[in-house]
């Protein structure tokens, strides 16, 4: 056990944190949209020192044989070496893949985006919505930051111009993506026998388990239990209660 870890564990037992927050406090959250002009939609989210940017690009493609009249989303996450000592160059590893899939499931399963409305010509041409997540500074809690940034970017995303069933790259319409209220994800971490939200990088290293819950108005649409530590059903219930309470707070930042 490193000195840092011991220090954090001692603090958490006293319900304190290195930055003075209570166990249930998020760091300061800021959302900025329209950060990259060539994207159909884009957003930057900072939670404390953590910074993530998400861009949405649309392109036309062929539908999957089993869903001929539905468009689709493709979520990708890149943990840029630019953003942390710990990230190395190369194709997405397990951590990045897990992150992308958690965000993907939240959006997909909540049905916040109506895939049926993403069919340009049913059976032939459908919209593929690429949601690309990039870390700019990793200081913990990339999941919540990425989900928030994805939601913010999707909210402002508009269709590109289409001519002869082809995308005119670089030209946009005023038509927004067909979406209802988007999911917000809250991750609750377990350190010793305490629960915390919005863990820092150091706290992440001390957590035994985490539970990420994608929510729309208290309804659960996707979950992921992470890390090695087991959780009792009662603990899961408590963690979900925390997530539901925090959803309201997180959602306030989404205009």
């Amino acid at each position: 056990m490193t000195f840092n870890e011991k220090y954090i564990l001692n603090l958490i037992e006293k319900e304190q944190r290195t930055d003075g927050r209570t166990l249930m406090d998020y760091r300061k959250i800021k959302i900025e949209t329209g950060i990259s002009k060539n994207a159909e939609g884009s957003a930057k989210v900072t939670i404390g020192d953590t910074e993530v940017i998400v861009g949405v690009k649309l392109d036309l493609g062929e539908p999957f044989p089993d869903t001929p009249d539905e468009g689709t989303i493709i979520v990708n996450a890149e943990l840029l070496p630019l953003s942390s000592q710990e990230f190395e160059a190369g194709p997405p590893g397990t951590e990045a893949t897990e992150l992308a899939r958690i965000i993907d499931r939240g959006i997909r399963e909540s049905k916040a985006i109506d895939f049926k409305k993403l069919a340009l010509i049913p059976g032939e041409k459908i919209w593929m919505v690429f949601i690309d997540i990039y870390t700019i500074n990793h200081a913990g809690n990339l999941i919540d930051a990425s989900a928030l940034a994805a939601a913010a970017a999707l909210q402002v995303a508009r269709f590109p111009k289409v001519e002869n069933n082809k995308v005119v790259y670089g030209e946009f319409t005023n038509k927004l993506l067909p979406s209802t209220k988007l999911p917000v994800t809250c991750t609750v971490s377990k350190i010793r026998n305490k629960f915390i939200v919005d863990q820092t990088l150091e706290e992440e290293g001390s957590a035994s388990a985490r539970l990420s819950v994608a929510l729309i108005d208290g309804k659960i649409h996707a979950m992921q239990k992470g890390l090695l530590g087991p959780l009792t059903p009662e603990e899961v219930e408590q963690m979900i209660d925390i997530a539901i309470e925090k959803e309201r707070e997180l959602r306030k930042h989404l205009k």
Binding site: I35, S36, K37, N38, A39, E40, S42, D49, E51, I53, G55, V56, K57, D59, N76, E78, L80, P81, L82, S83, S84, Q85, A89, P91, P92, F130, D132, Y134, I136, N137, H138, A139, V167, Y169, G170
Partner: protein, 245 residues
């Protein structure tokens, strides 16, 4: 995608600038907290960020050079920085740009001071409208300086070119797509006035190239002034913060 253009005349720039005028430029330092040094550089609608990690241990160890440090540059564009989505991850273009970016920066870094180590420079283009490698180099030079790496000089970069029959400073995408267009990204070490990046595609005479290089030098001087000013402000702010503490 070249635009059909029978006329080779280019009388007025697409964005209304003078032929020898830069786009508005903006630089920031200390934008990525985790990094040892970081900076962003904007040239009009082109926006690049850079972070520096190191000098740090170079692994695997057999790559270490006991004579001098290694500079490792990685340039890439975010998938949504361009109009047609770019697949995430390196491609042939970004690998080459990374290579020439390293060559553009290495001559000013006192690598002899850092044997056995590596200095990693990461450049990401957030928004692209031509000149991304130049914006990346400008940002990277600032990031290196802000990381406290020993340097003999800064590096300033801009692209010049021949659009129609005009020699033009700081091309935008529409100009690159004009036919005929010659695109020449150039980096200067401002103090010594040497070139550390020079690439060209298109067609141009020797005399015109000479003019273009002179124009680039002029543009780089303006960029250099901004880089110096930004660095000075950054370090005086840091001093102030230290004083307060």
């Amino acid at each position: 995608m070249k635009k059909e253009n029978k006329e080779t005349k280019y009388e007025k720039r697409f964005d209304g600038r003078n032929f020898d005028q830069l786009r508005p430029i903006e630089a920031k330092i200390g934008i990525i907290k985790n990094a040892d040094g970081s900076a962003s550089f904007k040239m009009g609608d082109t926006y690049a960020i850079a972070s520096v990690f190191g000098p740090r241990d170079l692994r695997p160890r057999f790559l270490q050079n006991p004579q001098k440090g290694t500079l490792r540059c990685t340039y890439d564009m975010l998938s949504f920085s361009v109009t047609e989505r770019k697949r995430p991850g390196p491609n042939r273009r970004s690998v080459e740009v990374s290579l020439v970016t390293g060559w553009a920066l290495a001559p000013v870094i006192c690598l002899d001071e850092y044997p056995n180590t590596v200095i990693d420079v990461y450049i990401e283009v957030i928004q692209a409208n031509a000149g991304t490698r130049c914006a990346g180099i400008c940002a990277a030079a600032l990031a290196l300086a802000s990381a406290g790496i020993l340097m003999k000089d800064l590096v300033s970069a801009v692209s010049v070119g021949k659009i129609g029959d005009k020699i033009v400073l700081d091309l935008i995408k529409e100009e690159e797509d004009f036919d005929p267009a010659t695109d020449i990204p150039i980096a200067f070490t401002p103090r010594t006035g040497e070139l550390t990046l020079l690439q060209l595609d298109g067609s141009i005479s020797k005399d015109e190239l000479k003019k273009a290089i002179e124009l680039a030098k002029k543009g780089c001087q303006t960029i250099y002034d901004l880089q110096k000013k930004t660095l000075k402000e950054h370090f005086s702010k840091m001093e102030l913060e230290n004083d307060i503490q």
